[in-house]
């Protein structure tokens, strides 16, 4: 089981800051996004500008998820 964290606009769209994801492992970013938008339709508008992170690092191209990951949905950042 992985955790998915939502920040900023993603938190607003999901309506919560964190959920559990009972995944099998090996899922791609595309599969996660399909599941997220299906579960929280408002995340559809966030997807285009957002990045995914896995265990505190941005997801690389082709990287897949494990079963105990901390995953985060990262809308465009605006710190400083």
């Amino acid at each position: 089981m992985s955790r998915i964290l939502f920040f900023a606009q993603a938190r607003d769209a999901a309506g919560c800051g964190e959920i559990e994801w009972r995944n099998q492992g090996g899922e791609t970013a595309g599969i996660l996004w399909d599941w997220l938008v299906c579960t929280f339709p408002d995340l559809g508008s966030v997807q285009a500008g957002a990045r995914l992170a896995r265990n505190g690092h941005y997801l690389s191209d082709g990287e897949t998820f494990g079963t105990e990951d901390e995953i985060a949905v990262i809308p465009p950042v605006s710190g400083g």
Partner: protein
């Protein structure tokens, strides 16, 4: 390169204590301050949200890359979160280096990278 990263909800210190050593010839510092207008509206301040674990990792990763071009001895990054009122600093970055050029270079390049990659967000202005 020594790196210290701090996230806090109270005011960023001024001055930041910075242990100067014998080969340090330059201290370059930056405070990013909340302006009184956001998108043309007068505001009382901004709220910031930080994904702290990842933000610290990203800051260290970015600084690790930049040190190749800009070798410095010590960097301190402080970012405030929660409500930050107008006139207060949301961010402080201080750099100790041998010469000013690498300090200025690191400071400027780091701020550009922070604003692209570090998971910190303005999550809405607070009206006056």
């Amino acid at each position: 390169m020594e790196i210290i990263v701090t996230f806090l909800t109270e005011a960023v210190p001024r001055p930041v204590s910075f242990g100067v050593e014998g080969n340090d010839g330059a201290l370059a510092e930056f405070y990013g301050i909340i302006r009184q207008e956001e998108a043309g509206e007068r505001i009382a301040g901004l709220n910031y949200e930080i994904y702290a674990d990842m933000a610290e990792k990203e800051i260290r990763r970015i600084l690790g890359e930049l040190r190749e071009s800009f070798p410095c001895r010590k960097v301190m990054v402080i970012h405030r979160h929660g409500f930050v009122p107008v006139g207060d600093a949301a961010i402080y970055v201080g750099v100790l280096s041998r010469h000013r050029q690498e300090g200025f270079g690191l400071l400027s390049a780091f701020m550009d990278r922070l604003k692209k990659d570090v998971p910190i967000w303005k999550v809405g202005a607070v009206s006056c």
